[in-house]
């Protein structure tokens, strides 16, 4: 995400003039996440690939809809965040995803389906789906449930150039067969994965998950309502990474990092992400 520069730009969004620094995206100008424009592949710490196309808006003079998460504002732009075309394309994207992958752990999907009248079941029982593939459990730290993957590219970008620079996973294949994969789909222990978990941090759909969370969900003991989240500092090495400890029943069940930390930008290494066990080997 490029830093907005100082020059001010005025545009019109849904009938109201808005003045923002140049370099701002339409989504940011409209109020960012939570402003009413749905987003899926847009994360806090990754330059969006704008692959999901759920945040599309109408810009006067543009032949096609434009992705609000990525398009920088221009002077005099006239933007409509809701219109027949906008609503139609959002509905279709929600249906396309809802009919091909498992969105059960994706935030807001039910409310958006209702708002845009999306009915993922209308493609029939025979509609091609990726939601029936088995969960990949090949190590004790995290699992990969690609039945839930919407191909937002965030894990690939977090593992790659934007943060971790490990490049252990890439998009492989093409079209509907595209999938996040190691080389030849080798298991994580056979890959160069360093288990930083920075892919889990950015995954918006629960496709990538701590093994501890996966096990508790499977056992029916995962209970977010009774979890606390406490921010503290990692005890390994001298970098001083910020941790958000998710605690249930006096036990750490998941470790994330605040995306607004100037040190981590939401990233950790394997020790910070998974090395908490020593604090809870309890009698």
């Amino acid at each position: 995400m490029s830093e907005p520069t100082t020059a001010a730009i005025t545009l019109n969004i849904d009938g109201a003039d808005v003045t923002v620094p140049s370099g701002t995206t339409i989504l940011q100008a409209a109020g960012g996440r939570g402003c009413g424009i749905p987003t899926l592949c847009y994360g806090d710490t990754i330059t969006p690939k704008n692959a999901c196309r759920v945040c599309m808006v109408e810009v006067e003079g543009s032949r096609v809809l434009v992705p609000s998460c990525s398009r920088p504002v221009e002077p005099g732009m006239v933007v409509r965040t809701r219109s027949e075309r906008v609503d139609h394309s959002r509905k279709m994207v929600l249906e396309f995803l809802g009919s091909s992958v498992d969105l059960s752990l994706t935030d807001h999907v039910d409310e958006w389906n209702a708002e845009y009248g999306a009915d993922p079941t209308r493609y029939g029982a025979d509609a091609a789906t990726l939601a029936d593939q088995p969960v990949k459990v090949d190590n004790d730290l995290y699992i990969r449930d690609y039945a839930k993957c919407i191909l937002c590219y965030q894990c690939v970008d977090a593992c790659g150039e934007q943060w971790q620079n490990s490049f252990v996973i890439e998009i492989a294949g093409r079209g509907f067969d595209s999938r996040v994969s190691t080389e030849n789909d080798v298991s994580l222990p056979d890959s160069a994965c360093v288990y930083c978990g920075n892919c889990i941090q950015v995954c918006p759909t629960g496709a990538l998950m701590f093994k501890s969370e996966y096990d508790m969900r499977s056992a029916g003991t995962w209970d977010e309502e009774h979890q606390t989240v406490v921010d503290t500092i990692c005890a390994f090495c001298g970098v001083g990474c910020n941790l958000s400890l998710h605690v249930q029943d006096n036990t750490i069940v998941k470790v994330m990092s605040p995306s607004d930390s100037s040190i981590t930008h939401g990233n950790l290494c394997v020790k910070g992400r998974f090395g908490f066990q020593h604090a809870q080997n309890r009698p």
């Binding site: 999901c52 096609v64 139609h88 394309s89 091609a128």
Partner: protein, 582 residues
């Protein structure tokens, strides 16, 4: 990146193939290793390296992937991600001898075997770009000297022979100029050398006025060239019809350097074969045209991105480029001069998209980029870049030498006409006039429909014979000239089958990056299949026809690139204009 070395080394053949592109494998240094940016700068050699291994061995093993990754400071997952993007590569073991049989639109209409009827060992292929000789097949023999032959007018018996291990001879390849029925006509401009001049002889080209346009361009300078191109009204022939002079001037005036020129010869639109025809018959003219374009935009490096299914065009260009370098017509001297690199695609329609082509050349997955920024600002290697279609460039030498409008167009006429081929006409000829030029309908054929512009185009009907083939007139009818495809279907052609193939084509060729196209092309094909089999559940197909409209609208509005935006066009036009499925 983090490396995890696997124990197994590549085979000698794999190592040699990699070295043929990347040079000798460096010795392990114990004290001093150069890496980082210097290694990463070689990433653009990934696609040629993958080709080298695939050509040599027939497939790309895990050991080869690891080795390539190490040589390029990329990760094995990245190399695999790129390799698995292209249909011509395999990461599972397969024989060195491969038979790819075209099952696409023109060949289907001309009696090609259906995908499901192919003998074991034959791979179904999208359009091979020899539609004038349909049906076609492409036989590859990997090895020390890899060989690829595209044969026309193939029979099931031939296919059976080839899958049994035989290789077609060069006699099975159509004669170069066969694709140009007008060959020798003195009024031709773009095709004037076809069949008249030996395409392998630089002397013949020079003797026919070759490189005089470049000399003239040097006299008038970049701005003079652009002024002439502007005056001639040249527009892009790839489909978008954007004014060429505007594109060139935009790059010429960009402060960022260097500037790049890319010739888009990834001709993959089903029914299109004009780039192949031009290159095979007159390769030096493309080199001259690119030299002029590079002069105009201030580029010293250019790329020709040629589709992987054109082995003879590739060999022709290789030869021509080498000849030009040998005579000093191409090549760098220090930082001066101009040279052209030839890049071969590997079976991905999407790489003809003007930004996907950058990613493919740079050694990444051939996924389109978002626009803006536009190629003239941020293009190849992040620098200002002009992408021109082959036919567009063939207009350039004539424009530089002579006054007058750029009003010649090429059409790829295939299907139920007497003499299919590439036709050069003045802009404004009607559809009926073009069919007449191609000898009219075949004996016993009656016109049922014409696919205009390829799979991304639309269907015209018998009522449209008076339609002038101009961008404006076709647009007014909701149609497009696209890449100049005029595929003429007679009463024997099963239009529903054609639509099924079009739907399958887009499902196969979607890059998968954006949701509307990745899933939309699948849902579109499913609806077309249900309609084709009458299992919509409603007597008149209203549910699935409505679904097709919904899907098409979303793909058109919300897809990242032109592939998704046009993936519903032909099906929609068949339903609306021809009443298919009604």
């Amino acid at each position: 990146m983090d490396l995890k070395t696997r124990a197994a080394p590549p085979t000698d053949a794999e190592r040699e193939a990699v070295e043929s592109v990347l040079g000798p494998t460096p010795e392990r240094s114990l004290r001093d290793v150069r890496g980082g940016h210097a290694l990463k700068a070689k990433r653009h050699l990934l696609l040629p390296t993958l080709h080298a291994v695939n050509d040599r061995v027939g497939w790309i093993s895990q050991e080869a992937i690891d080795h390539i990754a190490e040589r390029l400071d990329a990760s094995p997952a990245e190399v695999y991600g790129v390799a698995s993007f292209y249909a011509l590569f395999s990461m599972t073991e397969r024989p060195a001898h491969q038979v790819h049989v075209c099952v696409d639109l023109a060949c289907r209409a001309n009696g090609a075997l259906d995908e499901h009827d192919l003998p074991p060992g034959a791979h179904p292929s999208p359009c091979l770009g020899v539609c004038e000789q349909a049906p076609a097949a492409f036989v590859i023999d990997a090895g020390h000297v890899a060989q690829g032959v595209v044969a026309g007018h193939v029979t099931p018996v031939q296919i059976a022979t080839w899958t049994a291990g035989a290789t077609p001879s060069s006699a099975d390849q159509p004669f170069r100029a066969t694709a140009v029925p007008q060959a020798g006509d003195p009024s031709l401009v773009l095709l004037r050398r076809a069949g008249r001049i030996d395409p392998l002889s630089l002397d013949a080209y020079l003797g026919d006025g070759g490189f005089t346009a470049l000399a003239r361009a040097r006299e008038v300078g970049p701005e003079g060239v652009i002024a002439r191109v502007k005056e001639a009204g040249l527009t892009g022939r790839g489909g978008a019809a954007f004014p060429t002079a505007v594109k060139w001037d935009a790059v010429r005036t960009q402060a960022a350097t260097p500037h790049y020129l890319v010739c888009n010869a990834d001709e993959s639109e089903p029914g299109t074969f004009k780039d192949r025809t031009l290159i095979e018959n007159d390769p030096y003219a493309l080199i001259e045209a690119m030299s002029i374009a590079a002069l105009a935009i201030g580029a010293t490096e250019a790329f020709i991105y040629l589709r992987g299914e054109y082995p003879r065009a590739e060999a022709t260009l290789h030869h021509a480029l080498a000849e030009c370098r040998a005579r000093g017509l191409l090549g760098h001297v220090g930082s001066e001069g101009f040279d052209i690199s030839l890049r071969r695609g590997a079976g991905a329609y999407i790489c003809g998209e003007e930004t996907a082509i950058f990613n493919s050349i740079e050694g990444f997955r051939g996924e389109p980029r978002n626009k803006p920024p536009f190629p003239f600002q941020v293009g190849l290697f992040g620098k200002p870049t002009v992408v021109n279609n082959v036919e567009t460039l063939y207009n350039v030498p004539g424009i530089v030498l002579h006054d007058g409008p750029a009003n010649r167009r090429l059409f790829c006429v295939s299907g139920a006409v007497r003499v299919p081929g590439v036709y050069e006409v003045e802009l404004g000829v009607t559809l009926g006039g073009l069919i007449d030029l191609a000898g009219g309908m075949r004996e016993g054929s009656e016109l049922q429909a014409v696919l205009l512009g390829g799979a991304a185009g639309g269907f015209a009907g018998p009522a449209d014979l008076d339609l002038p083939l101009t961008p404006d007139a076709t647009r007014a009818e909701g149609l497009t000239l696209g890449s100049g495809v005029v595929m003429v279907h007679d009463q024997h052609v099963d239009l529903v089958d054609q639509l099924r193939r079009i739907a399958a084509f887009f499902r196969d060729e979607s890059c998968g990056q954006c949701v509307p196209c990745r899933v939309g092309t699948v849902r579109q094909e499913e609806a077309v299949e249900r309609l084709a089999h009458g299992i919509d559940g409603t007597a008149d197909g209203t549910v699935d026809l409505a679904l097709l409209r919904d899907i098409g609208q979303a793909m058109k509005d919300a897809s990242i690139c032109g592939l998704g935006q046009t993936a519903a066009n032909a099906i929609e036009s068949a339903v609306v204009r021809l009443g298919v499925f009604r």
